[in-house]
Symmetry: C2
Subunit: 275 residues, 2 copies
């Protein structure tokens, strides 16, 4: 891999920002708020931010960059597709539970649903994410889908994935803003109590996680090389060192479409061969 | 240009969403709010959303895609760099005036500054945008900057530009959320009065504008071809038709770095030659 140290630094920083976001949202709920319950009260609502940060942000971000981890290049493309799809499916399920928690809380407290821009864009994001999931499975996991369709759809699949990820973070930042305005009293949000500062920092951490995931996910030289190249490296004995430099000439061959479009994934074992 | 019709459709849709956003924010302020003034009151604050939408969102979005308009490919790269820098500088100036309006209003009403996540991320975005401007001018408009530096910095310049644009829209959505919660009374935001619905639609329009600009700005086949290719087309008589198909083989030669790094812009006229 080209610029392996830079990749490693970005990856460690992303992991740190992502895990710290999870720690921050948990401390927020357990220390400053009412903790967790499933009783229609504020403690049920609290599942909403926690599941969004863990699922819809951290797991979705991990799913975006999972192909780019050089340690996974020993695994077949099909295995990695299942990992990618599994992470996205988990993120979707947690997002749906998070939505149910918010609606349940609103209904039991007679708070209207779907009036805010946060709720509009959040629901649109969940619907488009489910569409992305269904189309992704139909295109890349159903063996009969023509290779030409896979290749044509890939740029849209990648762009939509990145855009939805960024949008979900934006919607989370709006949700944080709403929650702090509604929940903080004496002093209110504008009085900058410790909870306000703490949760603002959580918002900044989510943005840092977002920018690092999108940076890692959009560098052409960090793409998973096409299976032909990996096969060549393996048979030449070069595949055993994960630091093996697949230089720009080789890595650029693996553009958005060829790794998917070549169809060779179906000719390879779907076992993760750690040779 | 490859897929010229698809490009034109995306461009028209982006222009429609962007211009409609400006119309919506103006109607919001003139119809539902107190209009404009510079008196420390709410009518001074109203410059804030209007200048952000016109400057920091619409002009910045236009600056991002201005190289990709095939009608500008007859102009020298240097001319287009000045257009790109000029649009970004205008966006920055309007953003600063928008900030002054918000601070002025807060100060005259004794509302604390810089307590909300919106204000934190907004100020960070303005600071990073000014850094992006200064570095962009230093790298690409000062003739002595080494070509190797230009090439090395270009991926970061492009990524930062796209990320900052997306972030500014996210911050605007948080600002809309804040303003509607604070300003709407009897019925409040949760009562979904016409103003709430109208401004939520403005938020959706901003997201639509954002996704279209980022789609146009990230398609490899819609890049401005390198000056060498344009020169060849001109001397072969092919440059007179702006619809001339610079196919994938040619357009892919013009990657993020070569158009900037080739340095041939300094050997060409900086007049927009409409031959």
């Amino acid at each position: 891999m080209e610029d392996f140290r830079q990749f490693l630094a970005a990856l460690c920083a992303a992991a740190a920002a992502g895990l710290l976001s999870i720690v921050f949202v948990l401390i927020w709920i357990l220390q400053f708020r009412e903790g967790f319950a499933w009783d229609g009260g504020p403690a049920e609502f609290n599942w909403h931010p926690v599941l969004i940060v863990i699922g819809f942000i951290f797991l979705q971000g991990t799913a975006i960059i999972v192909y780019r981890l050089p340690w996974t290049w020993q695994c077949s493309k099909l295995t990695m597709k299942f990992v990618h799809a599994g992470l996205n499916l988990s993120a979707f399920i947690l997002a749906v539970v998070a939505l149910v928690a918010a609606f349940d809380f609103h209904n039991s407290k007679n708070i209207p649903n779907m009036y805010s821009l946060h709720s509009w864009l959040g629901l649109i994001a969940v619907i488009l994410y489910s569409l992305q999931l269904v189309l992704g499975v139909a295109m890349y996991l159903i063996p009969v889908t023509p290779v030409s369709w896979r290749a044509a759809f890939m740029p849209l699949h990648v762009f939509s994935g990145h855009f939805l990820f960024g949008s979900v973070i934006a919607v989370a930042l709006m949700g944080i803003t709403e929650k702090l305005i509604f929940a903080l009293k004496n002093p209110g949000y504008s009085g900058s109590p410790p909870e306000a500062i703490f949760v603002n920092v959580l918002g900044v951490l989510l943005v840092v996680f977002g920018v690092l995931i999108l940076w890692i996910g959009t560098r052409a030289s960090w793409k998973r090389p096409s299976d032909q190249i990996l096969h060549t490296l393996h048979t030449n004995g070069g595949g055993e060192d994960t630091n093996t430099k697949v230089g720009p000439d080789l890595s650029q061959l693996s553009d958005e479409t060829d790794a998917e479009a070549s169809g060779d994934v179906r000719r390879r074992s779907n076992k993760c061969d750690a040779d």
